[in-house]
Amino acid sequence: MVLRGPHRPDFLLNETLPDILEATAARLPDKTALEFGEHALSYAQLNALADRVASALIGLGVRSGQRLGLWLPRGLDLLVAQAGISKAGAAWLPFDADTPVARIEVCLDDAGSPGLLTCRALLPLLEAFARPVWALEDLLEAAPAGEPLARRDADFTPDSPAYVIYTSGSTGKPKGIEVSQRSITHFLRSENAVLGVRAEDRVYQGFSVAFDMSFEEIWISYLAGATLWLAPRHVVGDPHALPEVLETNRISVLHAVPTLLALFPRDVAGLRLINLGGEMCPQALVERWATPQRQLFNTYGPTEATVSASLAELHRGEPVTIGKPLPNYGLLVVDGELNQLPPGETGELCIIGPGVAQGYLGRPDLTAEKFVPNPYAVGEHEARLYHTGDLARIDASGNVQCLGRVDDQVKIRGFRVELGEIEAVLAKEPGVGTAAVVIRELGGVEQLVACYVAETGAAPKAAGLRMSLAAQLPPYMVPAHFEAAQVLPRLTSGKVDRKALRLLPLMVTITAAEGESDIPEGNAEEALFEALGHLFPGQALLRGADFFGDLGGHSLLAARLVSLLRADPRFASVTVHDIYCERSLGAIATVLAQKELSVPEGEVAPEIVETPRLRRVLCSLAQAATLPPLVCLKMAQWLSPFFTYHYFTGDEGDSMWRAILAALLVYLLANLGSFLFAIVAKWLVLGRAQAGRYPLWGVMYFRWWLADRIAEVPPRHLLSGSSLNALYLRALGAKIGRDTIIGALSIRAPDLLCIGDGVSIGSSVNLENARVERGELVLGPINIGNEAVVDSYAVMEGDSAIGDYGQLGGLSSLAAGQQVPAGEVWEGAPSRFSRRAEIASRRPRPHVSANRAAWEALFYFFGAGLVAVVFFLPVFPSFILIDWLDVRWLKEVDAMRSPLNAFFTYLLLSIPASAVLVLATVLASAGFRWLVLPRLKAGSWPVHGRVYFSKWLGNQIQEASLFVLHGLYATVYAPWWYRLLGARVGRGTEISTALGVVPDMLTIGADSFVADGVMLGDERIEGGWMHLRPTLIGDRSFLGNGAFVPDGSVLPDDVLIGVQSRVPENARMHSGDTWVGNPPIILPAREQFEGFDPALTFHPSLPRRLSRGLVEGLRIVMPMAVVIAVGYLTVALVMPLAAAGRFVDTALALALAGFLYGAGSFLFVVLIKWLVIGRYRPRSAPMWTPFVWASEAVTNLYESIAVPNFVDFLRGTPMLPPCMRLLGCKTGKGVYMDTTFVTEFDCVNIGDYAALNGWCGPQTHLFEDRIMKIGAVHIGRGVTVGPRSIILYSARVGDGASLGPLTLVLKGEDIPPGSRWTGSPAEPWVN
């Protein structure tokens, strides 16, 4: 059967390429046609320049129908010259910039060309050239703008030749294929009818003009009026750079060969159309690149049929074919007798239609062989038929499947090569008698091998032959190996027996290959090439060679390579993952160089600083002395109103309302007073801190530590996101500019913080300008320039800066010494340049007058007070309930005589009271949310407006309710809580502590999992505007601990985002993906935790649901019950002192009670941990089992009682490690811990003198696929762990190693001793 494309007579026009360009120039004169670097040409300019070139050529005697050589480097000039030749009425004959001059001469001779159009820079190479050579620059000077121009003559018609392209020829001479103006212009219209390139498109131009796929880029763009972006030479072959380049230049259409696209490390946002061609398209590419938002096409066609003859739109899950014929084209599969074969039968593919070329230049015999009369013609355009030489069959859907080559043409790296052409060139070399070239697999890869027999005497050296052939042939046609033979095996017919030749043993030696290899440069390349030399003896090692594709590597060889490299301590950190990711030898060497450990020979690890014991003890004593006042200050905030209420109640005639008012007043004063106290105490204790390095546990360290602890006493969350935050930070010593928005922030040395005007800082940002490393406290400045942005969850260390209008992305880190230059956006951990900030397109900052600012400050002040009061009110119903029960039945409780008995009695009473408190808090939140606050809508809103205030109050609800509702997170009740706040949460979804949630903007599907500390759809603030976008998480997706989900993210179903990883752009995500790190990288496969009963993971039974609900209900209620019971016991014990008017004694007693409560809370958690869990050991447990509930309950008790009331105050003291030992951790001597983030305590091992900085932690468990997996973490001696770093279970950090800020050490990783690592996931840290 003949497959015919749609019949479109409207594409069969009498037109030429100049007609097309001129029509677009007339239609869109000012539209940008070409962009190259800083230069651009409009269609009118391109047309005018081409006219001048044409005029000059005509002046030089060029006439219609002549074939002109075209040899210029990439750039605007090349395309101007190409169009100029066409406008002169001639055809161009293009050559790559690196084509040997000898081959250019051969082709120009063959085509009878009158000359070569080039540029001045290439003239020195053409001094010995036999025919005329013209430089473009000279032509333009010869035909200045404004002068009358000569036009092409009347002989120029649609049947004139448009271009000639030379392909490899079997006789040793390249063969030229000439295509007419009519054929090519028809092709442009025919293909674009399917592709649909539009004037609004920006099209990437990367192909050489010597490759006819360049027509799809260049001339289809001219036809459509699109803008063509010309890639610089260094970018064209760099798949790692291209995604970034394409995004930066807003490319919407990409034409590429599949090999190039396959090497792209990531998706490209904004790319709406990809057209592949030139070689077979692997199925994997379709799965990766065909998305609902993007069209992926596969084109097929030999040069002889004018670029392409068929096209398939590829879809995921569908087999790759070359599709159906283009409009007016036809395809048929024939046998050796030109009989049509039915679908399913394999035969030779033939092409018919107006694209079929006239034939080969000067080769009537070959033309007659390949271009034959078409016996199945139904119109004049089908008169002839072209034999492609490709094997194919038509499938059941009428698509054509291409199955390889019929003849001995071969494809090497996508290039079609006639072996005979190489043989002919080789046979002409001096000293070579006969020669044969075959393709054979050497070391697992297909390569060209040349075998030759010496004419007489000694055979010529391979190196000389290689050099000579390289000067005459394109690189892909130069054989990889030259083998001198005594005789070539022949068939009885006398022809070379190629089969026998492929089996001929080769005498290739390493020395020979060395001569053909690139010369390694630097330690990394030397080590790599040496290792490869062992694995691939005799093979040439080229930087551009692909380990798998070119060298023939496979998994075992990759493993052997890693093993050989790791034998060198400098490259101990290389992994097999690096080999799979990088593939090319050059890229692998680059990674090796980055990972090269700067450990001098003989030195295993840097010195581990052992802090003096005496200093440590003295500091510890001083810190211990400050603990009681610190703890009781914190306690006072809730104990004082508690006491006040009971002071004013209990007697006949007491007014409950007066007691409530008094307690509220005391509560507000305690909160307000804590801010004033923190400010005064900071200046008294620390004064103004200076940048520098101070001994750990020394006097300066103690002062800094105390100021840092005091700063945590006030409820800072009340100020987050309000203008009051700047006032408070200024009072602590920071320099803060005007009109800043600062979210929840940790700042470790406020004196060293300088924030400019108009700065926006997101939620949960850590400004860690105090850190401990190698026995020293390091204080450093942080400078943030005017109008800069620091997105949520970012970390900045001291000695870092962001320039004016600079931006640091979400979950990104800026380590000491790093600076974001003005106007740049840096992202990632470690952060790197991402793009220029779009300053020009920013909306103007909303103006705020001084009066307005003052009113806003008042609003925030009273708003914060209101929120504090509203969320304190629910304690009173619980008080009333206990008092009522107490009066009725438990009057006999005598706390003075038996305090313990009294405590347990009160605890019993407090359980229902606590339940009332939790319920009342939930109701207060719901009431506030639904009665006071409007539903938020997506959009951009000024930060000085109603919508922002409303969002701020919404955040305050979540923050303020945390004190009571902390236990609710990570329970079965958490989804209900979020639904109550306005979020849409599907069935079976588990949510732990999500941060930055804007409930109205959040939708989570069914059976998803949100782990601890996920920044989930936080709003973004920039330039005085808040941007709210809906965030959607699909079904069965997983967000790991500390993940960052930017607002506006749309996660498909079944997506896994790893721990401390950023969600990628929406266009890059597909269902089933696993993304890890920042910038996020996709993992090819993830661990599958199978083998557990679904009833214990996703589909629990009703009894299990009820059991878990009960356990978690108790977990929510019990911590508050303990607080209330302690409060009552305290009141009972201290009230007699107050009643006696001994107010000083009362205050002291309350302080003592507060401290005892704090310490008691910790000991209580220790007791519960050992009673309930015993010792944690590595194990896996499904989520719906009692062990997991108990473990989570213990963690929750630790975090809600022990940490805030006691353990938090021990951060940065030598007392914390021993306390951790009580819980089961194994901690060494002199350990510095500025973190309490420990869960499965027994699985944590910390070596002597290790330093764990702020908010970092060993993460000894993960929930994946609803399985809790517990494993051990080993942190060696003298290790420094940077702020917010996470070490996942089964990982080891070697002695003396350093981890930078926001580092993620993956499961099972082994960080070598003394090495420095940073980033997510961890990579060697190179300064």
């Binding site: 994997a284 899950g317 069959r393 697999e441 052997r560 050989l564 034998a567 090819p1084 590595p1178």
Partner: protein, 205 residues
């Protein structure tokens, strides 16, 4: 180790019609129906190119599955997935795993369960100990390190084939061994199977 799985040696080159008649009604069909699992060992023409070997294996795969499903080979819905050929539509329950080494291609077919097969040529590797330490689970690692010199290469080939078969079965990329990876690899079961001289075959389901 699970039940014994037979290795069916295919003729070379495989004549398609004969293959369908011979194996469609014969031992392959029985093995597949009885155990839901079949292994086919395909001898490759000497010095065949990698691409040619792949094509040949896929051609055989089409013929064999065509025999199982009573379909013409060209109608077998075989497509290229990211990790090798897969079947789609109603036939997607038949899982495929392929491995090539030396002069052989190993084809594994399983019904309704994940499958990984691997074929490794026994050869002398100078860095065998380091490789065992870096990549093999503890049992295989000890088997290699404790082996007498003459058996070390065979033990390594066995360990490597088992590790690769398990990885393929679980869809895991090759990676350095860790306690975590070791636990995960154990999630699939190894089947005992026949061997070819000079090679080691492993099958994991």
């Amino acid at each position: 180790m699970g039940e014994l799985s037979p290795v069916i040696l295919l003729p070379s080159p495989p004549p398609s019609t004969a293959l369908r008649q011979r194996w469609g009604e014969g031992s392959l069909l029985r093995a597949f129906h009885d155990r839901g699992l079949a292994l086919l060992l395909l001898p490759l023409p000497a010095e065949s190119l990698r691409a040619a070997a792949r094509r040949l294996a896929r051609q055989v795969l089409r013929e064999v599955i065509g025999g199982l499903l009573a379909l013409p080979a060209e109608a077998v819905p075989l497509i290229e997935g990211p990790q090798g050929p897969v079947l789609e539509g109603a036939a997607r329950d038949i899982r495929i795993s392929l491995s090539y080494a030396g002069g052989w291609a190993l084809i594994g077919l399983a019904e309704g369960r994940a499958l990984g097969v691997d074929l490794v040529r026994i050869e002398r590797l100078p860095e065998v100990e380091a490789l065992a330490r870096l990549y093999l689970p503890s049992a295989s690692r000890h088997a290699v390190l404790d082996a007498p010199a003459g058996m070390r290469d065979a033990r390594f080939a066995q360990g490597w084939a088992e590790m690769e078969a398990r990885s393929k079965c679980l869809g895991l990329p090759l990676a350095e061994i860790s306690a975590e990876r070791e636990l995960i690899l154990e999630r699939c079961e190894l089947m005992a199977c026949g061997q070819v001289e000079g090679y080691r075959i492993a099958v994991a389901v």
